[in-house]
Amino acid sequence: MKLSRARTAPLCLILGALALAGCGAASTSSGGSPASGTTAAASASDQILRIPYLADMSVPDPDIFYDIEGNSVILSAYDGLVTYAPGSTTIVPDLATSWTVSPDRLTYTFHLRAGVHFHDGTVMTSQEVERSFQRRLAVNQAPAYMLKPIASMATPNPLTFVVHLKSPVNPFIDYMASSWGPKVIGPDALVTHAGSDHAQTWLSTHDDGTGPYELTTFARGRQYVLTRSPDYWGAQPYFKEVLIKITPDIGTQQLELQNGDVDAIMHSFPASELNSLPSNVHAEEFPSFLRLLLYVNTNKAPFNNPAVRASLRADVNIPQLVAEAYSGTATPSIGAYPEAILPNQPTLPYAPNAKLAAAGAKAASTKNITLAYTADESGVQRRVGELIQADLAQAGWNVTVKEVQLPQVYGYVNNLSSAPDLMLQTNTPDASHPDTWARILFDSTGGLNFLGFKDPTVDSLLNQALSAPPAKATSLYQQVGQDVVASNEIFFLGDVKNVFVLNRDLTGVEQVPAYPWTVTLADLKRTAG
């Protein structure tokens, strides 16, 4: 069939228009103020950092946000009073240049940094710090627990902020350094846009912090844009803009990294592929407090029998399991706590022993058990589940492995008899203090105590440790750890590293172990060649 000229003319026009449009797109290189459809900062494309998120963050409001995906946005837009030094648990100044603690450990006096500007242009004073703390308490979402011990606050001068506690709280200064700790928010949010909800609506798409980057676009489901703040009090970041794109498929992220369309993958890169990275990317590993745990359901048979669950110590070859599943990006756990936040813990008494393992399975009232794991994009927890399944099968167990979502896991505690017999979960503490690990995991009301571990002695020791003199508190936390290990209700399998896979030209990666999946974006640089 031959197309007539009358029919081909409109087609040619359309194709011509598309071709012109295509040329236009290819030649876009002008900078200037962003307008609809123009390149925002194309003239310095090497100063744009592109990173993907696997999912949307919940909200960019530091007093509500309590997830992991999104930490880099919060920590780039906001500062707290103190922070952790890179690669350590040492607390260092941030918006407070120094601080003192009274001998009775009830009063914390923070001396604030002068000349700090919010993204709205106003200068930070102690009044904004107090107002930010009050807002966190008023909003009263999950991170508010860090400020509940406060009895009163005072602002004796614009650069001094004083906190009085109801009673000593050992992890208080670590709360201040936590990535979910209180951040200082400016008056544009807290006064101008306060509305009737403490600016919750406004802060769900904006920021008014003092951090190196300002959140200039929050397009849910699509992209967030962080723009370098010209008034930042610290060293100016290398990257003018950070584009965070929501890309929920890790395979797509990998291809885009390989093709140079994104600069880095911050988490969930399949560990098994780290040894075969293309030449234009490289991986950097850092210690973290992410830990792989195996929860045991002791509220029903067979693991309500202490002897049977004790045999689990002999079932799994943990070093082999960790090596196989994580390909070198995790190490077998040493104690009940991350080693860096509680040193000198007794070694965990786990050792594979075929005879003991078989005896345990033989003594069980049922050999049919369920092992649940929470879904993760890298697939590593599924792999761990399958390896444990194989080890347990050798001992005589019949294990069904199933994937579950986190809200289901939170629901188990309401009906433990229908919860799985074993459950794999990777957790991290809120801060570099043993209390922030022990209280959510080992306390009978702990939020990560998914399968109802309950020991009144542990609850009591934890309550004592919270306010005890530091040396005494350390020994109490040690004792709690030993009690939990002895109970065989939670097994500590592996300490997982933060693995960042980056374009070869990206350098300056700084990471804090207590801030999972998060690098300091302001420290990243692109080097030539």
Binding site: L20, G37, D67, P143, Y145, R220, N259, G411, G447
Partner: protein, 333 residues
């Protein structure tokens, strides 16, 4: 025609009511704690209880169901547990991307389906070979098509982008239609149009492929039957060419089954949206739904399900009208 419209409106209400019942029943069956997931692990039991009360999750399920229906009638789909926005607002954010993708895929499926269907009617070796290819193509799952397309057109040939709706350095206009192909033209932004167009190609094609193949096979079978009718023989005897007979005389009468299949395939297309949007990072309802499921965000899940269900009913209603146009006998049924 009026009774047809009336019947479809009743069906719409019934389907939506059924969907709400199913989603609420699922909430009762799935043992999850979305409120705890929302407030986080370190939230005190008091905060969890306070949020549970605020959201009404401490009420018995029938009472919550009644409350939900009451709010639904007033256009309130509750607040998302994950985004903390009203679900209607979130749907307004995510639906345009899905609408643009689904419309493009539907048009593509229709064009491809009719084109391939007509090629199949010709008979001969080429048509038989094409039929084999179509059967093979219909057995490829959508996620595999998506991955293969990315590997070929993005990773190997560098022709098309792998993810997103538009280049990340372009600023997207806020309306008026929120359909980027339309808005870019209305704003006179050829760069944006081109970027949106190239981003749309792979997801739309992936989504359109299976419906197109189903439409093609149905149309071909229907056409082959019609081509054996007496009036077609009469047309041939007048000396008309075979292709003209097919297009002028047979196609309209053969369109009924293909239109019915199109309506059914639209449901399949909506089902594929979750997978396609996830793989291509397309910021639409599928992505929103997927993230909401991981969070047990029931208000968001219910709202999205209702919207997609309503879309399915509306499209099938449109197909009914198209069938009535194609075959006037249907109007009297």
């Amino acid at each position: 025609m009026a009774s047809l419209v009336g019947r479809r409106l009743v069906a719409l209400v019934a389907v939506m009511f059924g969907l709400v019942v199913i989603v609420f029943a699922l909430q009762a069956v799935i043992p999850s704690d979305p409120v705890r997931a929302m407030v986080g692990a370190s939230a005190s039991p008091q905060i969890v209880a306070q949020e549970r009360h605020k959201l009404g999750y401490d009420k018995p399920l029938p009472e919550r169901f009644a409350d939900y229906l009451d709010r639904l009638v007033h256009g309130n789909l509750e607040t998302s547990l994950r985004t903390r926005n009203p679900v209607t607002q979130d749907l307004g954010t995510f639906a345009p991307a899905t609408l643009e993708l689904a419309l493009s895929a539907a048009v593509l499926a229709g064009v491809l389906g009719v084109g391939l269907g007509l090629l199949l009617v010709g008979g001969g070796r080429a048509a038989r070979l094409l039929r084999l290819v179509l059967i093979g193509g219909a057995s490829v799952p959508t996620f595999l098509t998506a991955l293969l397309a990315i590997l070929v057109f993005y990773s190997t040939l560098h022709l098309l982008p792998a993810s997103g709706r538009v280049s990340d350095t372009l600023v997207v206009p806020d309306g008026p239609t929120k359909l980027l192909l339309v808005d870019s033209l209305l704003h006179g932004e050829p760069n944006l149009f081109w970027s949106a167009f190239t981003h749309l190609i792979m997801p739309a094609f992936t989504l359109a492929l299976l419906p197109a193949l189903a439409i093609a096979r149905t149309l071909a079978t229907s056409c082959e039957q019609i081509m054996r009718e007496d009036y077609v023989r009469t047309a041939r005897s007048k000396g008309l060419r075979e292709r003209r007979v097919l297009i002028r005389h047979a196609l309209r009468n053969a369109a009924g089954p293909a239109l019915t299949m199109s309506g059914l395939q639209f449901g399949l297309l909506l089902g594929g949206i979750v997978v396609v949007e996830q793989i291509y990072a397309w910021p639409g309802l599928g992505l929103y739904l997927d993230q909401s499921i991981a969070y047990s965000d029931f208000p968001a899940i219910t709202g999205t399900t209702l919207l997609l269900g309503a879309a399915y009913v509306v499209v099938n209603f449109t197909v009914d009208l198209a069938q009535a146009w194609a075959d006037p006998r249907i109007r009297t049924v």
